[in-house]
C-alpha cells in the first residue's frame, strides 16, 4: 500500500461528501457508514452520472465517491468531467473490479483514489483522510 499525505488533516473541518452509486443497497450502506465517521458529512446521493453532475453543481462537495459502473456506463466519465470542470473537487473511485488496469485508468481520468468495495470497511476512512488533504490512495501501485 502506498499512500501520500502532504498535510495533516484538521479535525475541525467537516468534509462534505457526495456518493454516486447505482446500487441502492450499497449506496445506502455506504452513506450509513460515512455518517458514523466524525468530520464527514454526506451532502447528497446520486445513482447516475447526470444526477451526480447536477448535485455536484448544487452542493459543491469536497469529495465525490464514484462507482466505476453506473447503469452500464463508465463512472470514469464523471471523474473526467469533475477533473476538468471542478479541479478542486477530489474524486475517489469505488469498484467491485480488482483489476490493475482499472486503477490505472482511474488515475489517468484524474481520480485521487481507488478502493475495492470489499475493502471499503477497512480503507474508506484512511483513504478519505489521505485524499482530503491532496494525497492519493492507490493500494498496490507506485
Amino acid at each position: 500500500m502506498n499512500t501520500n499525505t502532504p498535510r495533516q488533516p484538521d479535525p475541525s473541518e467537516v468534509d462534505r461528501i457526495l456518493v454516486v452509486d447505482d446500487h441502492p443497497l450499497v449506496r445506502e450502506a455506504l452513506v450509513g457508514l460515512l455518517r458514523r465517521h466524525s468530520g464527514i458529512a454526506v451532502c447528497g446521493e446520486a445513482d447516475s452520472i447526470e444526477q451526480g453532475i447536477y448535485l455536484v453543481a448544487k452542493h459543491q462537495p469536497d469529495l465525490v465517491l464514484v462507482d466505476l459502473m453506473l447503469h452500464g456506463r463508465d463512472g470514469l466519465d464523471l471523474v473526467r468531467h469533475l477533473h476538468t470542470h471542478h479541479p478542486d473537487i477530489r474524486t475517489v473511485v469505488i469498484t467491485m473490479k480488482d483489476e490493475e488496469s482499472f486503477a490505472h485508468k482511474a488515475q489517468e481520468a484524474g481520480a485521487a483514489g481507488f478502493i475495492m468495495k470489499d475493502r471499503l470497511t477497512e480503507d474508506l476512512r484512511p483513504a478519505i483522510d489521505v485524499v482530503r488533504f491532496g494525497g492519493s490512495w492507490y493500494p498496490g501501485r507506485m
Partner: protein, 578 residues
C-alpha cells in the same frame, strides 16, 4: 425346305443313310461274289461236259478215220451236231484238214492248236466254247475232234442266277432300310425326346408332362433329376431375390445417404437419400455411371472430395472416416461424417466399396448452441455473482461496520465480534468474485484472451508447483468472444492434462498467428499422451478439445514431441472479411 434340311441334318437321318449305305455295299459285294462264283462254276461244268463229249466222239471217230470211212464219220458228226447246243462238230486229220464235219464253224475264229496231240478248250466270239481233242489209235495221234458249243444256254442260267441274287439283294436292302430306320429310331428316340424336353424346359421352365416324368427309362430319371435341380435352383433364386429385396429395402430405410461403387468407381447401388440429397435425381439415373458420367450433383467439390478418399481407400484397403461438407438441394451447407469401407467377393478379393454419409449438421448446430447456452449461462451466473451477490455482501459488510461504530464505547467484545463478522462478509465477497472469475475467465474488459492465458499460466505455477509460461507473438488481431473462450478452454484442458495425466514439470503456452490463422500451442515435457481408452479422462478431454476447435471452425492436433512430452496445437482461422 427348313424341315427337309433339318431332317437331313438330324441324327436319325444320318444314321439311316449310314446303315443303308453299309448294307448296300455289303450286299452288292456279296451279290457280285455270288454271281462271279456261279458263272465260274457253270463255265467249268460246261467245259467238263464238252471235253467229255469230245473224248467220246474222239473214241468213236478213231475207227472211221483209220479206215477212211467218210460216211460213218459224217453220220457221227451229224449225230453229234444234232444235239441241242452243239453248233459245229468236225473230225480233222493231223494236218488240220477236215475229214468230216457238220454244222457251221464260227467265222473269224483263231486257228486250232498246231499240235493235234494236245487237248484244248477256249472261248470264241458269239458265245461259243471250242474244244479240240486228239484221236489216238494204238498210241498214235491220227487226227483230232473239233467241237463248238453254244454257250447262250449257260449265259441264260448265269443271268438267272445273278438276277436271283440281285432280287435277293434288293429284298435284303429293303429289309436293311427298314431295320436301319428302326435302329435309328431306337438310338435317336431318346435324343429326340431329350431335345423335346429341353425345349419344354426352355418354354415352360420345367418338365411338366407326365410322359417324361413317368418314363421308366433313363430319360425319365433325367427328367425327374432335372425337375429336382430346377426346384432347387428356383428356391435359390427366390431366396436370392428376397435377400436382394431385403437389401434394397434396408438401403432405402437407412435414414442417411448410402452408396456402393465397384473398384472402377462406377455406382452399383445407392439409396434414394443419396440419389436425391447428394446427386439430385432418382437412383436408376446414376447406377452404372462413374463420377464424371453422374454429373456434379448438388456439390461438385464434395463429390470430388469423396472420390479422392475412395481412391485412397482402394489403394490402402483401410476403412476410413472423415468429415465432408457439401450443399444440399436447397443450397444449404451440410456437414457429413463419411464412412468408407471395402467389401469383398467370395475369394476375399476387394470387389467394391460402400460409403455412408451421416448428416451431422444439426448435431453440430445443437452442440454449438449447447456450448453457447452454457457459456451464456456461465457468464450470466458470473455477472450475478459479481454484480448482485458481491454488491449485497459489500453492502452487508458496510452495514455491520456501521454497527461496529455504533456499538457502545467500551464494549470491545462486541466491536471485536462485529469486526470479525465484517471480515467474514468481505471474504465471502472476495470468494464470490473469484467464483465469478472462474466462470468467465476471458473477460474482454479485463484484457481478453491474452490476460486470461497469462493468469492461467500464473495460477498453474502456483497451484501445480511447476514452471508454466505464457508467451505471445503479435500483433494479434481482435479475437471474438466465442473464439477467445474456446481457445482459453482448450488451453485450460491441455494444461490440466499435462499436470494430471502426464506429470509434466514444465508447460509452455504460446499464442501467435500466421497470415490467416491464430495459432495456440501448449507444450509440455510430461510422459506423453496416455494410451487412449474410452472413458478415460484424457480421452474425453481430447475429444472435448477437438469439439471446441470444430466449434470455431478450427483444427486441433495433439502429437508427441520428439524430445518427449506432448504438443497440442489449435489453429483458428482469422476472419479476413472476404
Amino acid at each position: 425346305m427348313r424341315l427337309i434340311e433339318r431332317t437331313r441334318r438330324s441324327i436319325q437321318f444320318r444314321l439311316l443313310i449310314l446303315l443303308v449305305a453299309m448294307s448296300a455295299v455289303i450286299l452288292a459285294l456279296a451279290t457280285t461274289l455270288f454271281g462271279w462264283y456261279g458263272w465260274t462254276l457253270q463255265r467249268r461244268q460246261f467245259e467238263q461236259q464238252l471235253v467229255a463229249m469230245a473224248n467220246l466222239v474222239a473214241l468213236n471217230s478213231a475207227a472211221p478215220l483209220a479206215f477212211d470211212d467218210l460216211d460213218t464219220a459224217r453220220e457221227d458228226m451229224h449225230l453229234v451236231q444234232s444235239g441241242s447246243s452243239i453248233l459245229y462238230a468236225a473230225i480233222r486229220r493231223p494236218d488240220g484238214s477236215v475229214f468230216a464235219e457238220a454244222g457251221a464253224m464260227a467265222e473269224g475264229s483263231p486257228p486250232l492248236h498246231h499240235d493235234p496231240g494236245q487237248s484244248m478248250v477256249d472261248y470264241l466270239a458269239g458265245s461259243r466254247m471250242r474244244a479240240a481233242i486228239p484221236i489216238v489209235l494204238n498210241d498214235r495221234v491220227i487226227g483230232q475232234v473239233h467241237i463248238e458249243e453254244d454257250l447262250s444256254g449257260m449265259n441264260r442260267q448265269v443271268i438267272t442266277v445273278v438276277g436271283s441274287a440281285i432280287a435277293v439283294f434288293l429284298a435284303t436292302l429293303f429289309v436293311a432300310v427298314l431295320l436301319a430306320a428302326r435302329i435309328g429310331r431306337t438310338i435317336t428316340g431318346p435324343i429326340t425326346r431329350l431335345a423335346a424336353m429341353v425345349r419344354m424346359i426352355a418354354d415352360r421352365g420345367r418338365v411338366d408332362t407326365g410322359d417324361f416324368i413317368a418314363s421308366p427309362d433313363e430319360v425319365g430319371d433325367l427328367a425327374r433329376g432335372i425337375n429336382t435341380m430346377l426346384d432347387s435352383l428356383e428356391r435359390s433364386r427366390r431366396e436370392l431375390e428376397q435377400s436382394l429385396s431385403q437389401q434394397r429395402t434396408l438401403f432405402d430405410t437407412i435414414p442417411m445417404p448410402v452408396y456402393a461403387k465397384d473398384l472402377a468407381g462406377t455406382y452399383i447401388a445407392m439409396n434414394h437419400r443419396y440419389a436425391l440429397d447428394v446427386l439430385g435425381d432418382k437412383p436408376e439415373v446414376f447406377i452404372g455411371r462413374n463420377r464424371e458420367q453422374a454429373g456434379n450433383g448438388h456439390d461438385a467439390g464434395m463429390l470430388d472430395h469423396l472420390a479422392a478418399r475412395e481412391a485412397d481407400l482402394g489403394s490402402s484397403g483401410m476403412s476410413t472416416s472423415f468429415e465432408v461438407t457439401g450443399h444440399d438441394a436447397n443450397g444449404e451447407l451440410r456437414v457429413y461424417r463419411a464412412q468408407l469401407g471395402l467389401f469383398r467377393d467370395q475369394a476375399g478379393t476387394s470387389a467394391g466399396l460402400i460409403g455412408v454419409l451421416l448428416d451431422i449438421t444439426e448435431i453440430r448446430r445443437i452442440g454449438k448452441e449447447l456450448v453457447d447456452v452454457s457459456m451464456r449461462e456461465q457468464q450470466r451466473l458470473a455477472r450475478d455473482l459479481h454484480d448482485n451477490l458481491g454488491q449485497l455482501l459489500t453492502a452487508t459488510a458496510m452495514r455491520i461496520k456501521a454497527l461496529e461504530y455504533a456499538a457502545p464505547e467500551g464494549d470491545e467484545a462486541m466491536k471485536a465480534e462485529l469486526r470479525d463478522v465484517t471480515a467474514l462478509v468481505n471474504r465471502s465477497a472476495r470468494e464470490a468474485r473469484a467464483l465469478s472469475h472462474g466462470l468467465n475467465p476471458v473477460d474482454i474488459e479485463r484484457g481478453g484472451l491474452l490476460r486470461a492465458l497469462e493468469e492461467l499460466a500464473a495460477s498453474t505455477e502456483v497451484y501445480a508447483r511447476l514452471t508454466c509460461r505464457f508467451t505471445s507473438t503479435g500483433p494479434l488481431p481482435e479475437i471474438d468472444k466465442d473464439a477467445s473462450n474456446q481457445l482459453y478452454r482448450i488451453a485450460q484442458e491441455a494444461v490440466n492434462n499435462a499436470v494430471r495425466h502426464a506429470s509434466a514439470t514444465r508447460i509452455d503456452l504460446h499464442l501467435g498467428r500466421t497470415t490467416n490463422e491464430i495459432v495456440l500451442s501448449i507444450r509440455d515435457n510430461g510422459r506423453g499422451i496416455p494410451q487412449r481408452r474410452d472413458g478415460t479422462a484424457a480421452g474425453m478431454g481430447l475429444r472435448i478439445m477437438h469439439q471446441r476447435a470444430l466449434m470455431i471452425q478450427g483444427t486441433l492436433h495433439c502429437n508427441p514431441r520428439p524430445s518427449g512430452g506432448t504438443e497440442v496445437v489449435c489453429r483458428h482461422p482469422i476472419d479476413t472479411g472476404t
